[in-house]
Symmetry: C2
Subunit: 297 residues, 2 copies
């Protein structure tokens, strides 16, 4: 297996509350802030970690939920200035942006390229260490300059999605898993910066293919069906021709009609109703990643 | 057992969307509207049912979520004029107001008096007929003139709460149970108006005692703990001294300290965070209701 040397990761930001009603990240960041004196001083001393961004992000908690308000545009600019600039050598090394979903997606790591060895190694590490819930990797393979999410501002970065959890609610079980995932990410970076060699290998990922909308009334655009009980909570199952997708409010089943078997995810996510998305469909994809080690100075 | 004669129920309103992001009721009312020609014509012919209110209420779907906006005050006035007037002889006979909760409360029927034989008989009927989920009855024993909910406008009325369902989401399993509960309520009224004698007996209810807030930072008022995993989703369990209530974000458990055993409900309801309510506590209470039959003209 090829050995690839990569630069040390000097600056990391853990961000909660990018979507203000997804509460796990808000309280994970609050708790890290509280632990800052103990935990992060330790990392700063030993590994040149900077905690400043964690502090800054806590202030994003109460931002409005809509994607397009002037406040959000202004805030995105501000965060880019703070953590970026996007695409520049000064950009933060790694951003971990914390999200919740109402879908039963367990822990899902979302990123924007299939060739970022740092984030893929972190995914592999979390898949090995976390056993309480499924850990999946989702690749949205778009050019980084087109990526619209917060973590695209940094050199490396991923979104950490955990569900199911209603928006506006914090569940202790979901909080504990998110906190563990963040702690393990920091643990990986710590080990990587200290010279640990991380063996390469295969990582199972899902690649986004397309979205499917709810059946709607052609005139009013109101929903005429909900996710079928046999599909509800079955994120990342294998969908075959004839499997039930929707159950109309009058009781009729709508089936999957396509030949290609695909994997549905973000099934029945609250924030996607207005975007016209009942679920996404993805394809399983094995990625081979090289062995990595930090560059010597 | 005493036999009580009660007036026929001539006007009923089924209301969804009183809280606009609680979607089950929105789609139940939409579906009833669609079925109107078949279903309600039938009832109007045979039982003097009026459907007008069902139609009117569908327009409440997209009202804002806050309780205190000028729109909501204006709308409450309008609904009182349409279905009331509250406390008058012209008031609608029965209102069934449909709600969802993020709490694991199954089907809970909430009403404002422990001596309304009509609603208690409907509760008893639903408890007998619905077996897929627990059916509980919650009594908030306040004078009807002080009751602030929609159904208090009518002569009889109850809120029908179903969960767990995230706000902004419609789950088929929850929709099906709500629809069944509404159909059975109409079924009961139909039978009652047709002269069926409903036997009295005991009805198990829960009486509201008090509310408990989350542990909060004394200065910032932000939460410092979530509902404990052992309490989460355990609505209506029996809470004893020493049982875990909360798990702090740093890992400490907060226990129930009181001697009195009580039953928690509305555990971790999203809409109650801002009201300072982590859960309510109630006491089990057996109510004896008389046999009832419709008054002859």
């Amino acid at each position: 297996m090829a050995l690839v040397f990569l630069p040390a990761l000097a600056r990391m930001a853990v961000c909660g509350g990018t979507h203000g009603n997804e509460l796990s990240g808000v309280y994970v960041v609050q708790e890290m802030e509280r632990q800052r004196k103990d935990l992060l001083d330790h990392y700063i001393d030993q590994n040149n970690f900077l905690n400043q961004a964690v502090n800054m992000f806590f202030s994003a908690v109460n931002c409005p939920i809509t994607d397009s308000s002037p406040y959000e545009v202004w805030r995105a600019q501000e965060l880019n200035n703070l953590l970026g600039l996007k695409g520049s050598t000064d950009a933060t090394d790694i951003i971990c942006d914390l999200h919740n979903t109402t879908s039963n997606m367990g822990l899902t790591l979302i990123h924007y390229t299939s060739s970022d060895w740092v984030t893929l190694h972190i995914c592999k590490y979390l898949q090995t260490k976390i056993t309480k819930v499924p850990v999946r990797v989702l690749v949205l393979d778009v050019p980084i300059s087109d990526a619209y999410s917060l973590e695209s501002v940094s050199k490396h970065g991923f979104s950490l999605e955990i569900g199911p959890q209603p928006h506006g609610v914090v569940r202790a079980d979901i909080y504990i898993i998110m906190k563990e995932a963040v702690d393990l990410t920091i643990d990986w970076i710590h080990k990587f910066n200290s010279g640990t060699v991380f063996e390469g290998g295969d990582v199972e990922t899902f690649k986004f293919i397309k979205s499917v909308d709810y059946p709607r009334d052609p005139e009013t655009r109101t929903l005429t069906a909900a996710i079928h009980p046999q599909l509800q909570d079955k994120d990342f199952c294998l969908l075959k021709r004839g499997d039930p997708l929707f159950l109309s409010f009058s009781g009729e089943t709508v089936n999957y009609k396509e030949e290609e078997t695909l994997h549905p995810f973000f099934i029945n996510e609250a924030a996607y109703y207005e975007k016209g998305i009942a679920f996404h469909l993805g394809k399983k994809m094995m990625l081979t990643i090289p062995t990595v080690q930090v560059q010597k100075d």
